[in-house]
């Protein structure tokens, strides 16, 4: 039988047309459970900005208004629908909520979780329920260093990067530092952040001494004694991973007491507060955004787009939780579309003679299976408003990227960030299969 070879350009045309326009059968929305803090202390600085970002991004994606390479409507032509859930209430409640999202709300994918505790609790449940889950903002390295998951991905770098880059920046800008103190919340995030920072400092600057380590209770609110102890420690610099109301209360109470005149601050997660605290953040404060987010984000059409859609939704510029939400949704979209293209290519092998349109539509309508999406997500490199994200750690399930730190300077009553230094991912992240603590203790050798 004579075969008529489908030309390469014709196949490309079908694939592009299928992805860009969609078909009637493909209009059923993809339901994504989006879990973020809507109440409690993390709602204001993190949870609600993430929700605003997720909603603004999904609306823009559904309208096909995002810039390339995310300019396809929705996910590969299918609209996306968010089911937003409050992350507050603790891990037990979150596990129940997760089960409800999967079993009752029938979501296709879950994107969520700011708290490291929630991420650690949800990951094994997601695996057990075989539901593709993208962790979007939690920082603990333990997710993929202590376990291996098939259905779980994290599209933001883990927190080791924040601590290591803080130490590198401190020594590049204040190389002669001989003493430092810390004030960090007494739970996983604060303890890990301080532990990684002191480990990195002990490797990079062994003669610098820790004067005091203050570990107030999360939500403490009153820091009078801690401020006195920090002042009396005569430290040259103070490391802090405080966030939310705790950070704001500390800044409000420490400023009038002259702490920052004596000891400048390193605020590992300080970026979301630049516009809120304004002049309460003293000049010379070292701030990070847990990645190249917010003021550290690269100039790009994607970053400009995020600013535009987020501003329209929230009324101010996006801070790093908005970038985390963007990374997760765009990462999932990129994986979905990559899987779909792969599926289409498989359905219509080169050399097919006829029925190309029918086969394309058939493959298109079903969308990628979970296995196909997982295969596409593992090791994926995708563009986001934070720059290029590489799913290179945790067997291809954990994102890695470079980061940046800068120093605050008040200009015309507005806090700006100057002296920005950028660190490539190999300088601040351990290589694949090396635990963060071991990598830091081993001298933080760049991955080959």
């Amino acid at each position: 039988m004579a075969h008529v070879r489908a030309p390469r350009w014709l196949m490309g045309l079908f694939l592009a047309a299928a992805l860009a326009s969609g078909t009637a059968r493909a209009q059923e929305p993809i339901r994504i459970g989006f879990v973020t803090f809507l109440s409690g202390p993390a709602a204001g600085p993190f949870g609600v900005p993430a929700r605003h970002a997720a909603e603004a991004i999904v609306e823009s994606l559904n309208a096909g208004k995002a810039p390339a390479p995310h300019n396809t409507r929705g996910f590969g032509g299918r609209p996306v629908e968010l089911v937003v859930i409050d992350e507050a209430g603790g891990t037990t409640k979150q596990v129940s909520e997760f089960r409800s999202l999967v079993e009752r709300q029938n979501v296709d994918y879950v994107v969520g979780y700011i708290s490291s505790g929630d991420c650690l609790a949800i990951a094994p449940v997601a695996e057990e329920m075989k539901k593709i889950t993208v962790l979007f903002d939690c920082g603990t390295p333990r997710i993929f260093e202590d376990a291996s998951y098939k259905y779980v991905f994290r599209t933001r770098p883990h927190a080791t990067m924040d601590a290591v880059a803080a130490a590198l920046y401190l020594l590049e800008t204040r190389g002669g530092v001989k003493s430092y103190a810390g004030i960090n919340q007494n739970y996983a995030w604060g303890q890990d952040s301080w532990s990684d920072f002191t480990m990195a400092m002990s490797v990079l600057k062994p003669d610098a001494k820790v004067t005091t380590s203050q570990m107030p209770k999360f939500g403490s609110g009153q820091y009078g004694a801690e401020i006195s102890a920090l002042i009396q420690s005569n430290s040259e610099v103070i490391h802090s991973s405080l966030w939310g109301g705790d950070l704001e209360a500390f800044m409000m109470q420490a400023g009038p007491r002259g702490l920052f005149k004596k000891s400048p601050l390193i605020l590992v997660a300080g970026e979301p507060y630049l516009h809120r605290l304004g002049s309460a953040i003293p000049d010379g404060t070292i701030v990070g955004a847990r990645g190249t987010n917010g003021v550290f984000a690269p100039d790009s059409p994607l970053n400009a787009w995020l600013h535009e859609v987020y501003r329209a939704k929230a009324g101010h510029d996006p801070t790093y939780p908005a970038y985390s939400a963007a990374n997760a949704i765009l990462g999932l979209k990129a994986a979905y579309e990559k899987a779909k293209v792969a599926k289409l290519q498989k359905a219509i092998p080169m050399g097919a003679n006829k029925g190309v349109k029918e086969e394309t539509e058939k493959a298109y309508a079903s969308g990628p299976s979970d296995a196909e999406l997982i295969a596409a997500f593992e090791g994926l490199i995708f563009s986001s408003p934070s720059g290029k994200m590489t799913m290179s750690l945790g067997k291809g399930h954990q994102a890695a990227s470079g980061t940046a730190y800068g120093t605050t300077k008040l200009v015309n009553g507005k806090v700006t960030v100057t002296n920005i230094k950028r660190y490539p991912l190999e300088k601040v992240q351990p290589p694949e299969a090396v635990a963060s603590a071991d990598w830091i203790k081993g001298g933080m050798k760049p991955a080959k």
């Binding site: 709602a43 007494n186 570990m215 939500g219 009078g224 006195s228 209360a249 007491r257």
Partner: protein, 298 residues
């Protein structure tokens, strides 16, 4: 300044703050035998009201010193509105039930107020920082303390001494004491117990709100502050003995001093220190240091 002096000053400031936030709780328990879990929400409501009243005052460009009046006014308004509403609208219906039922009812009020606060004020943090720095600061050796902290210390003393005087030296105070000792006997002698309850709950609510209003200039007011405070307030009144004014004062001093010591000398145990003291006190005196003896009833 040496470390011991710093511990003493930090301890006194923290104790004063603790006393203001806890005294309303112990007053309500003493008179009404209600462990008011909603106390934390009333504190939060006071803080939110302070940001609203104080913020309005500052935005209007009125003299900044007047913002202190706004903090107090916020506490009074919350007390006068929320107190009678909760007492008349809800608690009155469950008097005479077991204490655990009353705890559950006030817990429900706590949850309702948490959500109402979010509906009314949103989830974004609010602040009214001006009053904290307006009065300048005092240098004590190498440490600087805002004069505002001294104001909180003085105010807590005024509240404590004022309440003690009212309870012990006035006719209204003696009526209150009669109700504390035996509600039924007090009612039998013609005391309007229902009115006493209303007044007590309103004052207790205003004191909780005053705690919140005084704290507002030093923190970022946002969802979640209620839960943090209620735990501390419980620790203070349990150490002192539920229902005892002197006990609340002593409990606040003990907790404040122990915490200040831990922060300066052994920061790793700061989180644990307050509860270790509470456990130690309860092992030795299960009803707290100043527990009010209960009259035997036949």
């Amino acid at each position: 300044m040496n470390q011991v002096s710093a511990i003493l000053i930090d301890g006194i400031i923290y104790s004063s703050w603790l006393f203001v936030i806890a005294v309303g709780l112990t007053l309500i328990y003493g008179v009404m035998k209600i462990l008011n879990v909603a106390h934390g929400s009333l504190y939060a409501l006071g803080a939110y009201a302070a940001t609203a009243f104080g913020g309005y005052w500052m935005v209007q460009g009125y003299p900044p010193l007047g913002s202190y009046g706004m903090l107090v006014l916020a506490a009074i308004v919350v007390g006068l509105v929320a107190g009678p509403l909760i007492e008349r609208g809800l608690l009155r219906l469950v008097y005479g039930k077991e204490e655990v039922v009353l705890v559950l009812v006030t817990y429900a009020v706590f949850l309702i107020l948490e959500d109402l606060t979010k509906l009314a004020f949103g989830v974004d943090p609010l602040s009214i920082p001006e009053p904290y720095g307006l009065l300048g600061s005092i240098e004590v050796g190498d440490l600087i303390y805002p004069t505002y902290s001294l104001v909180v210390v003085l105010l807590s003393m005024v509240v404590g001494i004022g309440l003690a005087l009212v309870l012990n030296r006035t006719r209204q105070g003696k009526i209150l004491q009669a109700v504390i000792h035996d509600r039924e006997m007090a009612a039998a002698t013609g005391i309007n117990v229902s009115r006493v309850y209303l007044v007590t709950f309103t004052i207790g609510t205003a004191l909780a709100a005053l705690g919140g209003a005084l704290t507002a200039p030093t923190i970022s007011v946002q969802p979640g502050i209620a839960a943090e405070v209620i735990v501390l307030a419980f620790a203070v009144v349990v150490i002192g003995g539920l229902g005892s004014l002197g006990g609340a004062a002593l409990g606040a001093v003990i907790v404040g001093m122990v915490r200040a010591w831990a922060v300066h000398k052994w920061p790793e145990v700061e989180l644990f220190s307050v509860y270790a003291v509470m456990a130690a006190v309860l092992i030795m005196r299960p009803k707290g240091l100043f527990a009010v003896p209960e009259a035997r009833k036949i």
